[in-house]
């Protein structure tokens, strides 16, 4: 029976379950230690929540194609695999929340950031009030993810990017960081608007091309034309406006949403659930299509073609094709 993902602002039960479930995943040790996961320093248990932080950071270091430059394209970002990979990641979190909550009907809620963009991007938006995710700060000091140094159960960031190279992780013990609406280049002053989401959804490739050109096109990277690159937020390339949609939300929130370890902030999942909802709206509108197909040369595109394995514990059984229709697992209350 598929679960229905809903807007966190209209579903207090989902909100409370999400906050409680994240807390449980943050407290629960996985069977693995930092040493076993290749993170320097003394061996420490890795909390189940932090497995997701490691997964995101390590996948960002995994180049597409193998042997390539992960900064140009990696197994989760800067190419067509961006949407399928994050869909699988959200599925993994949702499964873990259902498990720790003992609630198989739990559905991950989403944060429709464009609604706040339409309201002028208030830094005191409802989602960032103490009853929801709390506000900004270093550390965040209100709401369920505030840091209280004397409380051993407080929300603690334990794994972070080791430095500006972004290629290695390290252990830490500190509170969550957010810095809303910093001026550029340090951040961005506004959230995306509903009109900008509509523009991305309405993108139409030049007549006479392949229908899948609507999703993505050569060279399938951060410069390629298509819906995916618009939603990920790399295009339009505009020096006066370097960030869009998905990227813009990361940059607007700032703090821990900046580095490769951005899943440290629980807002990451609510943000990506909305990104996934927008993709689902696109799939619903234009058909369950994807590019590139398997005729794209493996030497350049292996790891992001339609039947290539997604970088995940599911191995070869999870491919972009396998996540184009997830209606057996979840649906959304409203599609854009």
């Amino acid at each position: 029976m598929p679960v229905v993902r809903r807007n966190i602002l209209t579903d207090a039960v989902a909100r409370d379950d999400y906050v409680r479930g994240v807390g449980l995943l943050k407290q629960g040790n996985s069977p693995y230690t930092t040493t076993q996961l290749g993170i320097p320093g003394p061996a420490a248990p890795v909390r189940t929540y932090d497995l997701f932080v490691v997964w995101h950071g390590r996948t960002m270091m995994t180049p597409i194609p193998p042997g390539g430059n992960p900064q140009v394209r990696n197994a989760a970002h800067r190419g067509p695999i961006f949407l399928p990979w994050h869909r699988v990641m959200l599925g993994f979190l949702e499964q873990n929340l259902q498990r720790v909550l003992n609630k198989p009907g739990f559905a991950l809620p989403y944060w429709d950031w464009s609604a706040d963009g339409d309201l002028g991007s208030p830094t005191n938006a409802q989602i960032f009030t103490p009853a929801y995710l709390g506000g900004d700060g270093d550390p965040v000091s209100d709401g369920p993810f505030a840091f209280h140094a004397a409380d051993p159960a407080t929300f603690t960031v334990r794994i972070e990017a080791a430095g500006p190279g972004g290629m290695t992780l390290r252990q830490t013990s500190r509170g969550l960081r957010r810095a809303f609406a910093q001026p550029p280049p340090f951040g961005w002053l506004t959230l995306p608007t509903g009109a900008e989401v509509k523009d991305a959804l309405a993108f139409t490739p030049p007549a006479g091309g392949n229908p899948v050109d609507r999703y993505d096109t050569l060279a399938f990277d951060a410069s390629s034309e298509g819906f995916r690159d618009r939603l990920e937020g790399w295009i339009p390339k505009d020096p006066a406006r370097p960030v869009h949609l998905h990227n813009q939300v990361h940059v607007w929130i700032g703090g821990d949403m900046g580095p490769s370890t951005s899943p440290n902030d629980p807002v990451f999942y609510l943000h990506h659930c909305n990104v996934d909802r927008i993709w689902e709206g696109w799939l619903n509108r234009y058909g369950r299509i994807y590019a590139p197909d398997m005729t794209a040369p493996a030497g350049t595109y292996k790891g992001e073609r339609i039947d290539d394995p997604i970088a995940s514990p599911l191995g070869a059984s999870a491919t972009p094709r396998s996540v184009l229709d997830v209606s057996a697992i979840y649906t959304y209350d409203v599609l854009p």
Binding site: S30, P31, Y32, Q36, L37, G38, P40, T48, L51, V54, W55, M60, M61, N69, Q71, V88, G91, F92, Q95, N96, R99, A161, A162, G163, P164, G165, G166, M167, T168, P185, F186, D221, A222, S223, G233, W234, K237, P239, P242, V243, H246, N247, V251, M257, G258, P259, D307, S312, P313, L314, S317, T319, R321, S322, V323, L324, D325, V326, A328, I329
Partner: protein, 114 residues
């Protein structure tokens, strides 16, 4: 793959793979990055063709902060915009801006300025 077969992800497999033991096992089996390794100066190679001519532009940023080489790869794309792995959702029009923002986001790494 036969596109007429049912390719949809299997909810049972998803549930099993998401168990912390299986999930952590996957991460533990990944090749570990060399400890302390980060980018040195990286080359960006941009290629294009124009009127039958083949264009290749190689760009390398060699950056120091307080006299020390900055181990952060900056990459420039065909549009001339910069990205860096340390802040993967950002895009910059200036390398100086990129380094300023890295210093802002990694204060422990850079320490106090002079």
């Amino acid at each position: 793959m036969d596109p007429t077969s049912n390719p949809t992800i299997d909810p049972t497999k998803l549930k099993a793979a998401a168990e912390p033991g299986a999930f952590g096992g996957y991460l533990a089996a990944l090749p570990h990055p060399p400890m302390g390794h980060d980018h040195g100066p990286m080359k960006s190679v941009r290629t294009a063709e124009y009127q039958g001519h083949r264009i290749s532009i190689t760009t390398t940023y060699e950056i120091t902060v307080d006299g020390k080489p900055l181990m952060a790869g900056l990459d420039v794309d065909d549009s001339g915009m910069l990205s860096c792995h340390g802040l993967p959702a950002y895009q910059f029009v200036s390398a100086v801006d990129a380094v300023r923002v890295l210093i802002h986001n990694y204060p422990d790494y850079f320490g106090g300025g002079g």
